[in-house]
């Protein structure tokens, strides 16, 4: 029995301190302000304090911590991307994830399950080969496997997908993992708060104070604060912030939906993605099947759910697992995904001096939470983009140097 549990048992009063301090008032000025209390904003705050000694920092969150896409995502963590830039970046993230529970002293339920991207067509097999070869070249564990390996890992899987889309093989990525999303936000938030970072919930940034092309402060629903450095880490709200800043990005917002079933005893031990059937599924530690699909095909700035999403998804899940017909879906929801044309993020400096952007996380940004925090903290503290994010700079769209990740990120997030 872990010691921590005994500690609870032995004390009469609950011994746990508050996770984060919640100061009543904003200070008039901070060394840096982070807009967005999602995983990315909080991770950036943590690394700013820890690695750059910058603690006079405020994190401003319009709702509650982790209430954006962080708390809505299906938590797939992997590094089997397609471009060398992407693979290197996400691999660095996976390495941070592996020790993050210990580092933050909070159990993030980081659970390495292995990740299969199923291929049902020859052309999908080619993409799997491509990803596998790039991954291997970059030192990331990925391989193309045949139906026998898949069937052995998931004996319940109908390899013919009810006769409609026989599985020819898969890209197998051993480090593929899932984690508890909320805990990630709380863990970074707690650790940052312990080092002096101030976190404000229900505090919305309503405008930016820009003078001579430099950031001077932010206007919030609770008053104005001065600062020379601002990080925008607001995912689906990015167009609203860049509008305040007066520049454009190619980011567009599409809804991304997901759903969970009622809990059942564990049987699915890996993460499965099927590009052709447009679904992915894993089983949470609570026993629910967590399922999602590709992006809604149109731009909508809202988090409404649609019925056709669950209908289509259910039909495809049943192609793979016909015996789940009686299993019930409990809940469905949506997030606003900040999509880029090349399915890679937008990170780094902006046309406004002192304003840094961490955005374009679309359907894939949860896995990047630690590394984006770390690299953005570096970028903000030194005013120099971290080397790992060169491929993600905003200028790449102007320069036609896109980092094409669509082949690795359109269904499997």
């Amino acid at each position: 029995m872990p010691y921590q549990l005994l500690k609870f048992a032995l004390s009469k009063k609950h011994p746990e301190p508050a996770f984060f301090r919640q100061p009543a008032e904003l200070k008039p000025s901070y060394d840096a302000v982070i807009i967005g209390g999602g995983g990315h904003g909080l991770a950036a705050a943590y690394y700013l304090a820890k690695e750059h000694g910058l603690t006079n920092v405020a994190v401003l969150e319009r709702g509650y911590l982790g209430g954006g896409n962080t708390g809505r995502n299906t938590t797939i963590i992997r590094s089997n991307y397609l471009t060398p830039e992407g693979v290197a970046f996400y691999d660095a993230s996976v390495k941070l994830w592996e020790n993050l529970s210990q580092e933050l002293d909070l159990n993030l339920f980081y659970s390495t399950r292995g990740h299969f991207t199923l291929a049902h067509t020859e052309s999908a097999m080619r993409t799997m080969r491509w990803r596998a070869e790039v991954n291997k070249q970059m030192g990331v564990e990925s391989e193309v496997v045949g139906p026998d390996v898949i069937q052995a890992a998931v004996p319940e899987l109908d390899m013919s997908c009810s006769g409609h889309a026989p599985i020819l093989g898969a890209l197998y990525h051993k480090p593929g993992s899932v984690a508890r999303h909320d805990a990630v936000a709380w863990g970074f938030g707690r650790a940052a708060s312990e080092m002096g970072v101030e976190i404000f919930q229900n505090t919305e940034v309503t405008g930016l104070d820009i003078r001579n092309g430099r950031i001077a402060g932010v206007h919030t629903s609770r008053g104005t604060i001065k600062t020379g450095k601002v990080l925008s880490a607001v995912a689906g709200y990015t167009p609203r912030i860049t509008k305040m800043a007066g520049f454009d990005t190619p980011i567009v917002i599409h809804p991304l939906q997901a759903c969970v079933t009622e809990p059942m005893k564990p049987w699915l031990n890996t993460i499965l993605v099927s590009g052709s059937l447009h679904v992915y599924v894993s089983q949470s530690s609570r026993g629910e099947l967590v399922m999602g699909a590709s992006l809604d095909p149109y731009e909508v700035h809202a988090t409404r759910s649609t019925l056709d999403f669950v209908e289509g998804l259910s039909s495809h899940i049943l192609d793979m697992f016909p015996f789940l017909a009686g299993i019930k879906v409990v809940r469905q929801w949506a997030g606003m995904a900040d999509m880029t044309p090349d399915f890679a993020p937008v990170m780094g400096k902006t046309p406004v001096e002192g304003l840094y952007l961490d955005a374009g996380w679309g359907t894939w940004g949860f896995k990047a939470t630690p590394i984006s925090g770390k690299t953005m903290a570096h970028t903000l503290a030194t005013d120099k983009p971290h080397e790992l994010i060169h491929g993600f700079r905003l200028d790449r769209f102007r320069d036609f140097e896109l980092t094409g990740e669509k082949g690795a990120a359109s269904v499997g997030h």
């Binding site: 029995m1 872990p2 549990l5 005994l6 609870f8 048992a9 609950h14 746990e16 301190p17 919640q22 509650y64 708390g71 529970s101 210990q102 159990n107 993030l108 659970s111 067509t121 993409t127 080969r129 491509w130 596998a132 070869e133 070249q137 009810s162 409609h164 508890r180 709380w186 809990p263 059942m264 005893k265 564990p266 049987w267 530690s285 026993g287 409404r304 759910s305 019925l307 209908e311 998804l313 259910s314 039909s315 899940i317 049943l318 016909p322 015996f323 789940l324 017909a325 009686g326 299993i327 019930k328 879906v329 409990v330 809940r331 469905q332 929801w333 044309p341 036609f400 094409g404 082949g407």
Partner: protein, 943 residues
């Protein structure tokens, strides 16, 4: 022991049909019309399930279709709720999530560990040492989860139906019935749905000792049943609300998707539990649950009951219990003052201003401890006393069933007087009636239903009547030093878990939900959210409106995947020649939605080789009916194509074809095809099979935005096509047509009769130096195919499939967009400068290409040959490396039967693009393979 009462008026059970079943291996008998829960309770069983976390014994709690205390499995289906599962003969049921059976559930030891397992405990433990986490995770996963899934369970086939109506009324209680009838009488089409097998709602069970409501019910029921404008759907629950009033109604055999003009939500309210120690002990149940037992199932809920009251409905419960012969040993009211005249007359001991501190008993209620209290959560221990009883009926408050209102964007407001959330601003087209509005009295509910319907029809803009006071107690919550006072039964959350959460900074309703998991269980907070909000408000020292509520996401009740999926349809397209291919031994490949022959025969290598040989040395024929085929008409048809594709089309001569390359705005290659000019204002355009739909959509979209005078006709399905290729193709075709084929050389097009069929003949060179594509209406194309097949026999004609086609085009050095290009490839990299008409003012992607043209091209698509091919060829997409760095990949590779060489296409560094350069390919087995860049086409000009 059986607790069946004598026949009750309006009861749902059919006493003439006894039903045998087993539960946990033991045999029971109930009646048709019973739910499993009512049958078991009626048989005297008390422990019907175990709780999720601590495995505490549980009985029935709400019996309101979301009672998660009783969750069952039968080896096939899991997590069936006992209160909604109709009893059926031969059922063999057991409780989910026990170790060694319900009675002796070995997991019950977990209760002893409860102090170790506060809310969120798992976040703070098990991760150190890191190496042990997988072990603990396994333990936790095994403990969590409810039923055991059966991989042999049948897929089944649920039916999906669609309906339209003017007014959808959800909930057939008094308010809903009245709304439906009001609307129907005005002549509109109404659908009335209710989750219960029988309509009537509270009319059917809330009688206060007098079955007079049944008369009202009978009247309404017959009116509804006989009204031609009403479609009645009992046993169907509204699972959610979606944009434009799409409401799926889920029933036993399928899902009905209703698109309604207006929606009236008359879904009632969920009775809420009181929070006191052991409030989950079997025998503690909601007042309405005890009434349902009596009136629906004729089951006596207990013998000696204590009624815990906090509202005006409690006395109605007392009277129903009394009428059913239950001895009510105490009426305990949380309120200091309540008019108890009626029950006093029954001689029931009354304790005003008292609370139940705890229920006593091990596996079922044996008594309660009550004491005076201040109505605010502070019992006075000096006044406590014990009362023996075998049940507690709790009637302290309600929460509106407002999920669909929330989903539609309704703003709810907390009504302090009524102590209930009520709609403040309804979304357009949405209306609410009855208990969701805080209206509980029968007459008032009927009236409110009528008002809602009239408003829905635009006949009134009335103001909803004010919510009634006295239905919900503001603080039905009693602390206890020894805890086990549950707020959330699904998740085994006790009062102190909320205090802990708030102390740890999770003092925001959403954060609290996520940290404690309140409301995340199978009943989605129907019994817990309201009390959680009350507790949080108090912890924060703020009024409830400041705390707010969590969002109510779909679904209202969980919906089976099978119902959502319905029957699965996988559309498949077949070409006009499909049957011929099948009859001639084709092995089919799925290309998008199309079925196409990959090759003819079963041995792929042999078949492909023979087919290649035929094309190279005699003649071959492939079905290309799947190509995208469009006619573009109109005075500005050429202009449209001129802007859409990269080349020149306005000046194209009639009777010629041109290569057409489509780019996106960023200059990325999307598709290619040919444009044939048939007349001055008619062009015939082809697109690749897999992009046909996209090209049509984009062309249509551009036509709209550019506002040109042209029309696009999509002939993809109505035209078929074939490609006749090889040295004998011209002579063979000549036998069947009078068209001047020689004049078609170099990409000509002509229309005329081929084998007696009006057709279009195009000279193309995709797979061979000499080849003709013949397009004709889908109903005729097979005649040409058959005629060619017959005429071609003597010259060795062979049909060939897509696998052969890929090889043939590779020998010709042609790329395939999508295989030899990716989502970023531009024409400069693919060596297509020659098709970019940069003297035009505009084409899609031109702006980007101009910018790209100023930068060096870092990689190029080239042909290569392997110097010493390994036994297993490198797979397509193996990397091309240069000094250990990734510079490109090979996109196509094959053993060419014509050349006896391994040939392919690859992206290489620009420095290596010249013929003769040597490149390194990293084989999937990790070894390097050397190749030489060669010019394309690989094969020489026609023999």
């Amino acid at each position: 022991m059986t607790l069946r009462l004598p026949p009750q008026p309006g009861e749902w059970i059919d006493r003439a049909t006894p039903v045998n079943f087993t539960f946990e291996g033991q045999a029971y008998t109930g009646y048709a019309g019973d739910s499993v829960t009512s049958a078991l309770w009626g048989a005297g069983e008390r422990v019907l399930g175990r709780s999720f976390k601590y495995h505490r014994p549980r009985g029935l709690m709400s019996l309101a279709n979301h009672d998660i205390n009783v969750m069952l499995e039968d080896g096939t289906a899991i997590n069936m709720r006992g209160d909604v599962l109709p009893l059926a003969r031969g059922m063999e049921l057991r409780a989910v999530n026990t170790l060694g059976g319900l009675k002796g559930d070995k997991y019950a030891v977990l209760e002893w560990m409860a102090p170790l397992l506060p809310a969120g405990f798992y976040y703070k433990a098990f991760h150190k040492p890191k190496a042990l986490f997988p072990f603990w995770e396994n333990v936790i996963r095994r403990m969590a989860g409810l039923g055991v899934m059966n991989p042999q369970a049948p897929r089944g086939e649920a039916i999906k139906q669609h309906r339209h109506c003017d007014v959808l009324v959800i909930g057939a209680g008094p308010a809903g019935l009245s709304a439906a009838l009001t609307a129907a009488k005005k002549g509109v089409r109404v659908i009335l749905a209710d989750e219960n097998a029988r309509i009537g709602g509270t009319l059917g069970y809330d009688h206060a000792g007098q079955p007079t409501a049944l008369e009202t019910l009978a009247r309404l029921q017959s009116e509804v049943a006989s009204h031609p404008n009403i479609e009645l759907l009992p046993a169907h629950y509204a699972a959610g609300w979606y944009t434009d009033h799409l409401v799926p109604l889920v029933g036993p055999s399928g899902m009905i998707k209703v698109r309604a003009g207006k929606v009236v939500v008359a879904m009632g309210a969920f009775e809420q539990p009181a929070v006191f120690r052991n409030n989950d002990l079997p025998g503690v149940m909601l007042g309405s649950a005890s009434q349902r037992l009596i009136h629906r199932y004729a089951v006596k809920p207990f013998q000696r009951a204590v009624v815990l009251a906090g509202n005006d409905q409690a006395q109605r419960v007392v009277m129903d219990l009394h009428q059913a012969g239950v001895e009510v040993v105490a009426y305990v009211d949380l309120r200091p003052d309540a008019d108890c005249t009626v029950i006093r007359q029954l001689g029931i001991p009354i304790y005003l201003g008292n609370c139940v501190q705890e229920a006593l008993g091990k596996h079922a209620v044996e008594g309660v401890r009550i004491s005076r209290w201040d109505g605010q959560g502070h019992p006075d221990p000096d006044t406590s006393m014990t009362i023996a009883c075998d049940g507690v009926a709790v009637s302290v408050g309600w929460a509106p069933a407002a999920a669909l209102l929330y989903q539609s964007g309704c703003k709810m407001r907390f009504d302090d007087a009524a102590q209930q959330f009520v709609p403040e601003r309804l979304a357009p087209g949405m209306f609410a009636a009855g208990r969701v509005n805080g209206i509980y009295g029968l007459e008032a509910a009927l009236e409110d239903g009528e008002r809602a319907a009239r408003e829905a029809l635009g006949l009134a803009t009335g103001v909803a009547r004010a919510a009634e006071t006295g239905s919900s107690h503001p603080w039905p919550i009693v602390p206890h030093t020894a805890n086990k006072n549950f707020l959330d039964f699904d998740e085994d959350l006790q009062l102190k878990d909320f205090e802990t959460a708030a102390q740890e900074s999770f003092d925001n309703i959403e954060l609290m939900k996520r940290f404690t998991t309140v409301g995340m269980g199978p009943s989605q907070g129907k019994h817990s959210n309201m009390n959680a909000i009350r507790v949080l408000a108090r912890l924060r020292g703020e009024p409830i409106p400041k705390v707010g509520s969590t969002t109510a996401r779909p679904f209202f009740h969980p919906v089976p995947l099978g119902h959502l999926a319905g029957r699965t349809f996988h559309p498949e397209r077949r070409t006009p020649m499909h049957d011929w291919h099948a009859a001639h031994g084709a092995t089919f490949a799925t290309v998008g939605v199309w079925q196409r022959p990959a090759y003819y025969g079963t041995d792929k290598a042999k078949a492909v080789e023979a087919e290649v040989k035929a094309v190279r040395h005699a003649v071959g024929m492939i079905d290309v009916s799947t190509l995208g085929k469009f006619e573009v008409h109109g005075p500005q048809a050429g202009e449209l194509l001129e802007r859409f594709y990269t080349g020149h089309f306005v000046n194209q001569r009639v009777g010629t074809t041109r290569y057409a390359l489509l780019l996106d705005e960023a200059g990325v290659m999307l598709d290619d095809g040919i444009v044939a000019r048939l007349s001055n204002d008619c062009y015939y355009v082809t697109a690749s099979t897999s992009n046909a739909a996209t090209v049509y959509r984009e062309m249509t979209r551009r036509l709209q935005t550019w506002g040109l005078e042209a029309t696009i006709v999509n002939l993809t399905g109505s035209y078929g096509g074939l490609n006749l290729a090889g040295p004998h193709s011209q002579s063979l075709l000549k036998l069947l047509t009078d068209l001047d084929l020689a004049a078609l050389a170099n990409g000509g097009v002509a229309e005329g009769m081929v084998a007696g069929v009006q057709a279009r003949v195009i000279n193309v060179r995709f797979v061979a130096e000499l080849a003709y594509e013949i397009h004709a209406p889908a109903q005729d194309i097979a005649r040409i195919w058959l005629a060619l097949e017959e005429a071609g026999r003597s010259v060795g004609l062979k049909p060939f499939g897509t696998d052969t086609q890929r090889l043939l085009r590779l020998e010709m050095g042609h790329f395939i967009i999508g295989q030899d290009t990716d989502g970023l490839t531009n024409p400069l990299e693919a060596g297509l400068q020659w098709v970019l008409a940069n003297d035009k003012p505009f084409y899609l992607g031109q702006r980007s290409l101009k910018l790209l043209a100023e930068k060096p091209v870092s990689k190029r698509l080239v042909g290569f040959m392997l110097e010493a091919p390994p036994a297993t060829l490198p797979d397509e997409c193996c990397l091309v490396l240069r000094a250990g760095k990734i510079v490109g990949r090979l996109t196509s590779i094959a053993q060419s039967p014509t050349l006896g060489q391994v040939i392919g296409l690859a992206y290489v560094a620009s420095e290596d693009a010249a013929p003769g350069s040597r490149i390194t390919i990293r084989h999937q087995n990790g070894r390097d393979v050397v190749a030489t860049v060669v010019p394309t086409p690989f094969i020489g000009v026609a023999p």
